[in-house]
């Protein structure tokens, strides 16, 4: 049997195909019943975990992405930078090089391959990263600057700040696109939060396609259980996906959530999340 000290830190991604299924509800309450855990809000376009942590906000740290800056004196307009750019973010015109900084992923290929060493990297502000300590969990999150189109680089930066020795609960952005892929990638377990509605079921299947492709093992949490919708339990049984927890459709939960309260202050709800935590430990133990 593995003891605490033998376990390596576990990364638990809380994700969903459809938005509004309850990722943040599950992530905040789960983190609150775990010990020595960092809650990481990777939904950098709309972070909201901090609303559930009554803590003084530490000063945000600015986050940057490197974008190319071309020295026109050195540039010979050879076009190599545009050839190596996988994101069409740099184009050589007859008399100048044009940079589309909103498309740049900051990979550095253009400056690496420039034969004239004419490309330097300047810092483009993406937003900021914030870490706070509260009563129930340590929180780490990113906040994308308004108008910034690409969340992935900031998500990677926030993930890189997770303390090495501690478990982490990752509250992921919804959907199945780049931002959610970047958030789920490398997790030990991905809990897909869903609801028994046609959209919830449809997008659960899409999200399962993502976790499968990323080789991340997944489990399902059914929120708003009791809605007369698709048979998610049956689907999970047929596909060997564990249903790891559930919460009923209950106005009381919505009211507490809307007030920024954690459910775990109620003993009944607390038991739901403690049992979820224990199931996670069983599933992820090696």
């Amino acid at each position: 049997m593995s003891s605490e000290s033998e376990r390596r830190p576990t990364r638990i991604a809380i994700a969903s195909g459809k938005g509004g299924t309850g990722k943040t509800l599950i992530a905040t309450n789960l983190a609150s019943v775990m010990s020595d855990v960092t809650l990481v809000d990777l939904d950098v376009e709309e972070p909201n975990c901090h609303l559930f942590q009554k803590a003084e906000c530490e000063a945000p740290e600015k986050a940057y992405r490197p974008v190319p800056e071309v020295d026109e004196g050195k540039c010979t307009l050879c076009g190599r930078c545009g050839e190596v750019c996988q994101f069409h973010a740099i184009v050589t015109l007859p008399k100048e090089v044009m940079v589309f900084s909103e498309l740049c992923h900051g990979c550095g290929a253009c400056s690496m391959f420039c034969p004239e060493n004419a490309i330097a990297e300047k810092e483009h502000c993406l937003g900021d990263t914030i870490s706070t300590s509260g009563e129930h969990f340590e929180l780490l999150y990113g906040r994308l600057r308004v108008g910034e189109a690409m969340p992935t680089y900031l998500i990677r930066q926030v993930r890189g700040m997770i303390p090495g020795g501690a478990d982490a609960v990752l509250d992921c952005p919804p959907g199945t696109a780049c931002a959610s892929v970047e958030s789920i990638r490398g997790a030990d377990l991905c809990i897909l939060v869903t609801e028994p509605t046609p959209f919830g079921f449809h997008d659960l299947k899409l999200a399962l396609g993502v976790t499968k492709k990323l080789s991340v093992s997944s489990a399902v949490f059914i929120n708003k259980d009791g809605l007369p919708g698709p048979d998610i339990d049956g689907f999970c049984r047929d596909n060997n996906i564990p249903v790891i927890g559930r919460l009923p459709l209950d106005r009381d939960i919505a009211e507490r959530y809307s007030r920024g309260e954690l459910l775990i202050s109620d003993a009944g709800y607390r038991a739901v999340f403690e049992s979820l935590r224990d199931r996670i430990m069983e599933v992820t133990v090696r």
Partner: protein, 119 residues
């Protein structure tokens, strides 16, 4: 001299000018001296291909672009490639060329550039 018109469908002088420059399915290129018409499919990144529309248009040898409207970055790139840009074209490609010849179209600048994709 070659003129380029973003067109709605299969291209040609009777095809209609496309309202959305970057996602026009075809670019109709007309040589004003020989009246030769060439149709180039839009294989830019906007259509799942590679490169930006102005790069593709520059490769056709066109010196004038006649279109309904386009964004400021597209104008800058076309100007960078030495292509003159005129906006306000409507109707068929043929009608657009006539309007341009009669001086009825507006030379593009940032002041007349599209601010978004609503047509």
């Amino acid at each position: 001299m070659k003129l380029c018109i973003p067109t709605m469908d299969n291209g040609g002088l009777d095809d209609v000018v496309c309202d959305h420059f970057g996602r026009a399915p075809t670019f109709t290129v007309v040589d004003t001296e020989t009246n030769e018409v060439q149709v180039v499919k839009n294989r830019s990144e906007h259509m799942g291909g590679l490169g930006k529309p102005p790069e593709h248009i520059a490769k056709t040898g066109a010196k004038v672009l006649i279109c309904s409207g386009l964004g400021p970055m597209a104008i800058d790139m076309l100007v960078g490639f030495g292509v003159e840009v005129y906006v306000g074209a409507a109707g068929t490609a043929k009608e657009a060329i006539e309007a341009w010849k009669e001086g009825k179209l507006t030379a593009a600048s940032h002041d007349v550039a599209c601010k978004g994709h609503a047509h």
